[in-house]
Chain length 319, copies 2
């Protein structure tokens, strides 16, 4: 094979996902290696380099066919590729892009993993065809990514798109204190954890009736399933979450005015019902010029990170 | 004179400000012409072209010494220079940059006036030396502009930076309905109008005592002056405004993570006291990674628009 390729790498706390892509965004192959977080994560980059070199050998690809390696990192990353801190991997401050590039003799670009996932959804996922997107990931926490003109907004401290920690809750004590130490963060309600906690509170403390009562370990999925079946307590929880998220999205859109909002993460498996509920509250809150901004479900699931990472270095990307 | 120059033009509802600048951002000369809004504003661009041509003649500048004309327009403008609507000028949808460029035979770039003012403050004002800024203009209304990597974020509908219409107020009925038709917009409290209305309500309806009572026409300036002198009612109003604005800024910073927040507009004449009060509330609300984002007063006053407009076309700008 002679055509150019690029690599997308998504570093997680337990495994590193690696994908090899065509310039047009076609996934040629993907695999995973363990994340060796021992010894302050000093082997992670060399493990990635070894795996990429091995794959080039097996596939008979020359280094000069590789336009670059994109890297998603679970922590704040500045535009020049400097990681500021990465607790899960044991890393301190250093230029991760420069270091991996030296190991591989291939150009490397790095960015925060949530931002990279947003770029992936723009390239080949729910935001395909758009250049300005806001992505919200409703998982254990609430992540986000802002893409403008087809590029990640990294921010001065690598913290752009950290919408889960935007102050959002008027009733600051619905849930308690956020992991970041503040009260009232959007993530405290707009996340699987937030949905489960709020439902548990309503059922256990307020003795609200319905399908969820008697469940000792209420999950976000149980809440969303019950809401879809018409359970009033569950509907109340979902509407409340959607109300706060819709309000925050109305703020975010007044700042960056995207073409589309893409909703991903485990909670988004609830599908169109979730999108419709969030969009209803968004439209009530946003000012008129922005009320027709589209909403879409993310499409790439756990592969969004490798797609987005590859997109950073896909020089002839079909955008 | 042989060196290259550029023009910055700021179209207002009653007058058009025009400035001629060096590439380094030195204002060489400035003047104003009336805005002829009659006949759906059809003469505005030709009046600007005539005035620029006249000034080139008087100053002995050749057209090939002019790198371009930047234009600030009081309405939403897309990145390609298309105005979407401009009620104050009588304009509908057309490409204002293209039309002025054809009249002048000089390259023209156009953007929304609040966004252009933000770019001006980045170039030669309160945000000088920074490439990522959020500007807030507290005037009759509340305007905003987002600059990332030294460039205006225009948005899909030309509505990026419209932070005055971000939903912000939990007590949605403090002031009533915003001019945009929604309740709870930030502008309803974070503006000269908002400050004056809230103070009037506190004094007239709630009979709060102090320097403002007995004043039948309370202005924002009177409120800020009284607050600086220690008047408790006035302090309550300023703290409340700063609390909501600080909260919104904490959201905005979680989205775009700027280097600096620049506060301008008539209300900002209250100076460091205002900045300190807003920053205090901001720090209480924002998440830790962003708590040291700088705050500064705008410096260019009514000239911010012509500076920013010129910056769009200053090809060798000293940034």
């Amino acid at each position: 094979m002679k055509e150019e390729v690029c690599f997308g790498v998504d570093i997680g706390g337990t495994s590193v996902k690696i994908g090899i892509f065509s310039m047009k965004g076609k996934l040629i192959d993907k695999w995973e290696i363990p994340t060796r977080t021992t010894e302050r994560g000093k082997n992670i980059l060399s493990d990635i380099a070894d795996s990429i070199n091995e794959s080039l050998k097996v596939k008979g690809i020359e280094k000069n066919q590789v336009t670059g390696v994109g890297l998603g990192v679970p922590g704040p990353v500045k535009e020049d590729g400097t990681v500021l801190v990465c607790v899960n991997l044991g890393w301190g401050i250093f230029n991760v892009a420069k270091e991996l590039s030296e190991l591989l003799s291939i150009p490397v670009k790095a960015a925060n993993d949530a931002n990279v996932a947003a770029l992936g959804e723009m390239w080949q996922g729910g935001g395909k065809g758009c250049m300005n997107i806001v992505m919200v990931t409703l998982g254990t926490g609430c992540g986000g990514g802002i893409i403008l003109d087809g590029k990640i907004v990294a921010g001065t401290h690598g913290a752009a798109g950290e919408i889960g920690h935007a102050p959002a809750l008027a009733e600051e004590d619905i849930i308690g204190v956020c992991g970041c130490g503040k009260r009232g963060c959007l993530e405290q309600i707009a996340s699987a954890t937030g949905i489960a906690k709020m439902a548990t509170k309503y059922v256990d403390e307020f003795k609200m009736p319905g399908m969820l009562s008697g469940n000792n370990n209420i999950s976000a999925k149980a809440v969303l399933d019950a809401a879809k079946k018409g359970d009033e307590t569950a509907i109340l929880v979902v509407e409340k979450m959607a109300c706060y998220l819709g309000n925050s999205l109305a703020c975010i859109c007044a700042v960056v005015d995207p073409e589309i909002i893409v909703i991903g993460g485990g909670v988004s498996k609830a599908g169109q019902y979730l999108i419709d509920t969030i969009q209803k509250h968004y439209k009530e809150k946003v000012f008129d010029a922005l009320k027709d901004i589209k909403f879409a479900l993310a499409k790439l699931g756990n592969d969004a990170g490798i797609y987005g990472a590859a997109r950073m270095v896909a020089t002839e990307a079909d955008i």
